[in-house]
Symmetry: C2
Subunit: 316 residues, 2 copies
């Protein structure tokens, strides 16, 4: 078995995934568990980690984690680093979990033009894994429950913006009147023509609180099949997100003609369709951006490569 150089852990709200990474930064293997921060009771993170790692748990390689594990509800809080955030800034914000069980990457914060704060945890690491210092300007999109869009200049996270698109979609279908006429509410279903129709509508101007209601009225008048309601709504919301994110990018001097999509699930394919519908070129980032980002942070922090530079290197 190739020696493990790093155990990289993407520890989110609902699930957690661990990667075994070799000395070249290549992922050898990965495993996941539904032991996200909100599913760990009474702060028993050490037990959760042990369950997740299973037979890796005695591997002496250093461990590093990003995501909600570093939030106030996580194992140990790693306070947000302010934008613009460089790789050295993130490294300066690393925090060791109790007993040095692992090193935790901080989240990043910014303020929008209205002065309202915005935060990310985990996505900063994916960005580090997906855009490096040699790239002058990257506009990145990270689809998800709370999608993030970010400007990355020479590896520095200049600014970002959260859209609650994924959660809104899910909550509206499950709990609002919009779900009553929807008979096929799986966002992982094939992307049908109703999705493209929703996207075209979302890319236009409008008011979201009004436009959402179309998912009801179109079905009510028979202009949208009940099986297509969820798909149309997904298109509407992702289309509107793309429109607003592009406006935001323009205002910040990014032309928004090219977007790097970070992620590896079915949702990314939906964004790909919406972006090309909007005439925006899409680049797909490395599918294991979190593992890549954790590796890069660990290398630059000296956690791997030279044990003498690693202040949190004692594991167990």
């Amino acid at each position: 078995m190739t020696a493990t150089a790093l155990i990289a852990i993407d520890w989110g709200t609902t699930s957690v995934r661990a990667y075994r990474v070799d000395a070249t930064g290549a992922v050898l293997d990965s495993r996941s568990a539904p032991l996200g921060v909100q599913n760990v009771q009474d702060g028993r993170f050490r037990d959760a980690l042990s369950t997740l790692l299973a037979d890796w748990r005695n591997d002496p390689a250093p461990r590093i984690a990003c995501g909600m594990i570093g939030s106030r509800q996580g194992w140990i809080e790693a306070p947000y680093v302010a934008c613009p955030a460089t790789l050295p800034d993130l490294i300066a914000g690393l925090v060791a979990a109790p007993d040095g069980a692992l090193t935790v990457v901080p989240g990043v914060r910014t303020r929008d033009t209205s002065g309202v704060p915005d935060v990310m945890r985990g996505e900063e690491t994916q960005i580090v894994g997906a855009a490096d210092e040699r790239e002058e300007r990257v506009l990145a999109a990270l689809p998800g429950t709370h999608s993030k869009w970010a400007f990355v200049a020479s590896g520095r996270i200049v600014d970002f913006m959260t859209f609650m698109t994924g959660e809104l979609w899910s909550v509206l279908l499950k709990h609002s009147i919009l779900g009553r006429l929807a008979t096929n509410a799986a966002q992982t279903q094939g992307i049908g023509p109703a999705y493209a129709r929703g996207v075209a509508h979302g890319l236009g101007p409008g008011s979201l609180a009004h436009d959402l209601f179309g998912a009801r009225t179109l079905a009510l008048t028979g202009e949208l099949a009940n099986d297509d309601v969820a798909d149309w709504l997904s298109g509407l919301m992702i289309g509107r997100e793309v429109r607003n994110a592009r406006t935001w990018a323009h205002r910040h001097g990014y032309d928004g003609a090219r977007v790097r999509l970070i992620g590896d699930d079915a949702l990314v394919a939906r964004y790909e369709v919406a972006l090309s519908e909007a005439g925006i070129a899409v680049e797909r980032a490395h599918p294991q951006a979190a593992a890549q980002g954790l590796w890069r942070i660990a290398v630059h922090a000296g956690i791997v490569g030279d044990a003498r530079l690693n202040p949190t290197g004692s594991h167990r």
Copy 2:
């Protein structure tokens, strides 16, 4: 006891209210029950009506109803009348419930600039009760689960627009991450400074799917008290609705400098605050606009005043 000239019924999704109206159109008395359309099982509307009316049930006065009772899920469907909708158009669309137990007012439909249909049921009657033929141009707002804004020209409903503001607010607080940090989620609470702060934010430009997230981040950073999250979110969403409705009004040649608020609950007070924050003058409509509208429709349809003109005049 003054003689009843009309029993006017506002029959919605969750509740129903009946008014006893005299020959001058004055409301003598009213009663309500939680017997909205969705709470009536197996089409037992006659029983529900009997329960609602109680000792009025043998009153020989004609009965007229508006709202979801005329929807496909109601007692009898009264198909939507297209905008622009005049009072005679609504009267032409009246439908008699089985056995002539009551006369049902149709809803109204339109299409927005994207061609997506929009519908109302019940609000058309409130509008008829709140703006008459002598008024050349009225911009009306009807706050609610699904708020409606309407242009009314000389008593004609020219066009309208639905905003899901109320339902969005409620669903997000109950079922999304935004509710987790909110400790006081009653929209009937006193209107605090956090509401005004939300309104100011909502009146500015922005992207709703992003701005909503502020309800989490402001609380997370301690810039908004947990008790104020629901109030701030209400302000944000109502402010954004006012902003978008005003844009819509401008596009249609209404200056939007004056709005007639129709409704009689705590939500209307919230809109009053948001509208004055936006520099828009507010007029409050008659608090029993539905009863007034039903009365006017009944008079113009000949249901009251002259029984010989009433084709649906046989009751029971």
